[in-house]
Subunit: 173 residues, 2 copies
């Protein structure tokens, strides 16, 4: 399985690092993409290598898309290359897992209309404005889409993300 | 399964938080203990609630002991209450998972003589002086004892920790 994480500077460290290590633990190959190659640094100071720039991503090569939170999504939500990658995953019904501020990228890409989602409480208005139905719970699974609110939801978020990625290809939504 | 994490202020954030969330994801109950109740804060600023003080720990209630790294083990290695808990796990041959500076607590408690271990590279001398055989690899499993070097080893560390905890009770060492 191949996983793509889209993030940028000022990511919420645990929301990127927990899926990053967890999916490696599961034996998946994990790539991080951002505006450009190099490193990105989280709000708490952890640095992580960017494997490839958004320009270089071939989304058809990946089985799961992860969108961590922090301040990074505020910049990424204006980035059409990020929208294009997310739209590929939705068109192909491949798993997308977004936590905290991560779902605002999907809202900006116009992908959340009539979808059941959660996200950080301050993003509720933005998600609802884009047509989503907001639920205040640790994880919401709606077809190919998994969303959670905050770092303390990571155990539930990860459990559903891995289950869906392993079984998702055989499901029909 | 019940898990006990022993740590203190200035822990290495991912080395505490990754096992903390990961073991919850697995459905385990996880308690954090330290010198006193309240909260402890990591080197990168993450705070975590201390569920019980070292005085209150009943080690016989737990199935796995986790010792994260950072600067916390330098204080904990002088703490006889931490030694007593670790000695219980070794006497009962229950799993103990220590990463980075975590193994120095076990060295100070006299538990590493003739054991195969790893740990953060700067701790090698201290571990060898206590009688351990040091190996430079991402994870070393020696009977009930699992050790790793650093945050990038977390996927391998966690994989072995969970496997051993789930199967450990039926093994003979």
């Amino acid at each position: 399985m191949k996983v793509l994480i889209i993030s940028a500077n000022h990511f919420e460290d645990t929301e990127l690092l927990y899926p990053y290590y967890r999916l490696k633990e599961e034996g998946f190959e994990v790539h991080v993409t951002s505006f450009s190659k190099g490193t990105i640094t989280g709000k708490h100071g952890y640095a992580i290598t960017v494997d490839l720039s958004l320009d270089e991503v071939k989304p058809e090569e990946y089985d799961l898309l992860v969108l961590p939170g922090g301040k990074a999504p505020e910049r990424l939500k204006k980035e059409q290359r990020a929208w294009a990658i997310a739209r590929h995953f939705f068109a192909e019904k491949k798993p997308v897992a977004a936590i905290c501020h991560g779902p605002v990228i999907l809202a900006a890409a116009g992908l959340l209309k009539d979808r059941e989602v959660t996200g950080y409480r301050s993003t509720k208005g933005e998600l609802v404005s884009s047509g989503a139905n907001y639920r205040d719970q640790e994880v919401v699974v709606d077809g190919n889409l998994i969303t959670s609110r905050q770092p303390s939801d990571l155990p539930a978020f990860s459990r559903e993300m891995i289950k869906l990625t392993k079984t998702g290809k055989s499901r029909s939504w």
